[in-house]
């Protein structure tokens, strides 16, 4: 192989990032994260990423910042324990489709103070407004004066199940709501921390930074974050999934070898 030549200097300097000049007079939010990639290696114990940004607010009306980070969606199965003849047994599992593997919101104030129920529901902001579907025979009805309550064959239990998904995920630090997680460090300059626990799923994460004014979303900035295994962690994971049988045989041989080696070692001493 011929050593590749160093790339020629670019003929044209890439244009500088869009200036906010054109948007003077417009309320706008811009944000970035300290890391766009989270690498899971053998010392991974969770990660803490700082999301920072600026609010351009030429008006004199106050604005609120809401940060929403959601991890890759995946199906979730849930069982409910019921008491039968003195035993606690599992019900048949209920499948929820498309529950995010990670979900957090951080805001300057409690979400319910920032925007009304309908607005949050429409944008899907807040754990109470996550779209988690129980697919079988679901239909939408009006209940408790709220129009879109999804009822599946679970009937009224649906809400209990849904709450349980959120509660269990919150217990694992996978879902999180922080009503004062967005902190202004200077005028118009804010930061929020994204805490990924060690059990956070791998994949593509999407962050939305909303700017609300008078209960209306006025601007949004979208960011992405990749969580992936690297190095030996990735190699082992891929080996285990691509060639599962050879992997299994290798594990057994390794185990048998170590057993044999230990007994040799001990006999000598």
């Amino acid at each position: 192989m011929i050593q590749a030549l160093p790339p020629p200097p670019p003929a044209i300097i890439a244009p500088a990032p869009e200036r906010s000049v054109g948007t003077v007079g417009q309320v706008r939010v811009a944000a970035a994260m300290t890391d766009a990639r989270v690498m899971i290696d053998s010392s991974f114990r969770g990660a803490s990423i700082v999301l920072y940004g600026a609010v351009f607010n030429p008006t004199d009306r106050p604005a609120d910042v809401v940060v929403v980070v959601r991890g890759p969606d995946g199906p979730v199965r849930l069982v409910k324990k019921t008491r039968n003849m003195g035993f606690w047994l599992n019900s048949r599992p209920v499948l929820f489709e498309g529950a995010p593997g990670f979900y957090m919101t951080a805001s300057t104030r409690p979400l319910s103070d920032i925007a009304d129920f309908g607005q949050l529901r429409r944008l899907g902001v807040g754990v109470d407004h996550l779209r988690i579907n129980a697919p079988q025979e679901s239909r939408t009805v009006t209940r408790y004066g709220v129009r879109d309550v999804v009822v599946s064959r679970l009937g009224e239990d649906y809400l209990d199940y849904r709450r349980a998904v959120i509660r269990l995920r919150e217990a694992a630090a996978l879902y999180n709501t922080d009503p004062d997680g967005v902190e202004f460090v200077d005028a118009g300059l804010f930061r929020a921390e994204v805490e990924l626990p060690a059990v956070a799923p791998t994949g593509q994460y999407f962050a939305e930074v909303w700017l609300f004014q008078d209960g209306e979303p006025v601007s949004v900035s979208n960011l992405t974050l990749t969580v992936e295994k690297v190095g030996i962690e990735r190699d082992l994971y891929e080996f285990a999934h691509r060639r599962p049988w050879s992997y299994g045989v290798l594990v057994v041989l390794l185990a048998a070898f170590m057993g044999w080696a230990a007994s040799r070692l001990f006999r000598r001493s």
């Binding site: 290696d41 053998s42 010392s43 991974f44 114990r45 969770g46 995946g74 199906p75 979730v76 199965r77 849930l78 069982v79 409910k80 324990k81 019921t82 008491r83 003195g86 035993f87 606690w88 047994l89 599992n90 019900s91 048949r92 599992p93 499948l95 209990d160 199940y161 349980a164 998904v165 509660r167 269990l168 060690a198 059990v199 799923p201 295994k229 030996i232 962690e233 990735r234 082992l236 994971y237 285990a240 999934h241 599962p244 049988w245 992997y247 299994g248 045989v249 594990v251 057994v252 390794l254 185990a255 048998a256 170590m258 057993g259 044999w260 080696a261 230990a262 007994s263 001990f266 006999r267």
Partner: protein, 307 residues
């Protein structure tokens, strides 16, 4: 001191895992059991997904049992002939067990099945062992003459076809009972992540009436074959074997098993059986408790969604 496990996808304290492996290995060498029944509950308690815990510890059982069998072989305390028949049954049992476990996971009943099997099998075996060995210890302490043990085996053992000679065990019986016994242990190995030693040892002693000296070594031999099979099947079918987890466990396990096997000669067998019976009973009750106690959360995630 933490390490991230690539398959289990959790971060754990690795010195603790090595220590856990050593402790369980020690118990395994001492009593001649795989020790899986002790480890699975602890791993699950640490937050490792049950399916990964059950599948990964099987290879720990392979290692500590290999190390144990080599020690017992040098003492001529392994009957490979009857062990082979049992292992054959065990392989068939493991195949059935892994499929059964997949099916139970799909039904969302895997944890129930694990709890019920722990309660039933460990509870019953533990009680029996404790009762029998305590009686023996009491008689010894009181200085009573031990009643001559009935050496006759159940008659049905002789009515079956396919008779084989097992000189080391002092047996001339049909191959069917050891085959079935091995098969049963194989099913349990897939569902409970155990080698099945706690079932095999008493059954070999009290039902087959094998020569006591070869029981432990032979059961360990059978356990190696069955758990090796289970590990490969779990890796191939369910991708739930974590090589880092199992390596950490078995580093401690092989060393612990050596010390355990060496020490086992120092204790009276009835005392050993009483202690083992107590441990087995306690673990069974602990695991079975979830069937009777109101859970703190009525809902739980059911694993087994194909990703």
């Amino acid at each position: 001191m933490d390490i991230y496990l690539p398959i289990a996808e959790v971060s754990v304290n690795w010195p603790f895992l090595v220590l856990l492996g050593a402790t369980v290995g020690f118990v395994s060498g001492l009593f001649g059991i795989g020790g899986g029944f002790l480890m699975a509950p602890i791993l699950i308690f640490m937050g490792i997904p049950p399916s990964v815990a059950v599948a990964s510890q099987a290879s720990h059982v392979v290692a500590s049992s290999t190390s144990g069998v080599i020690s017992y072989t040098s003492q001529k305390a392994v009957d490979y002939r009857i062990g082979g028949v049992m292992a054959l049954g065990g392989v068939v049992g493991a195949l059935l067990g892994v499929e059964l476990f997949r099916y139970l996971r799909l039904l969302g009943q895997a944890d129930m099945a694990v709890a019920v099997s722990y309660l039933l099998f460990l509870g019953a075996i533990g009680t029996l062992m404790l009762y029998e060995s305590l009686g023996q210890i009491l008689r010894r302490v009181r200085g009573e003459v031990l009643p001559h043990r009935e050496r006759r085996r159940p008659l049905w053992l002789y009515g079956l076809p396919l008779k084989m000679r097992f000189p080391r065990s002092g047996l001339y019986i049909s191959a069917i009972p050891p085959f079935v016994l091995g098969g049963f242990a194989g099913v349990l190995s897939a569902i409970m992540g155990v080698g099945g030693g706690f079932i095999l040892v008493p059954a070999m002693l009290y039902v087959l009436r094998m020569r006591a000296g070869v029981v432990v070594g032979t059961s360990l031999f059978q356990i190696i074959i069955v758990t090796a099979m289970t590990t490969v099947l779990q890796a191939g079918r369910n991708q739930t074997v974590d090589i880092i987890l199992s390596t950490l466990l078995l580093v401690g396990g092989v060393v612990g098993a050596q010390y355990g096997a060496r020490l086992s000669g120092r204790f009276r067998p009835d005392v050993l059986r009483a202690v083992l019976g107590l441990i087995v009973l306690l673990v069974g009750i602990q695991m079975g408790l979830e069937l009777f106690v109101r859970p703190s959360d009525l809902f739980a995630f059911a694993p087994g969604v194909t990703e």
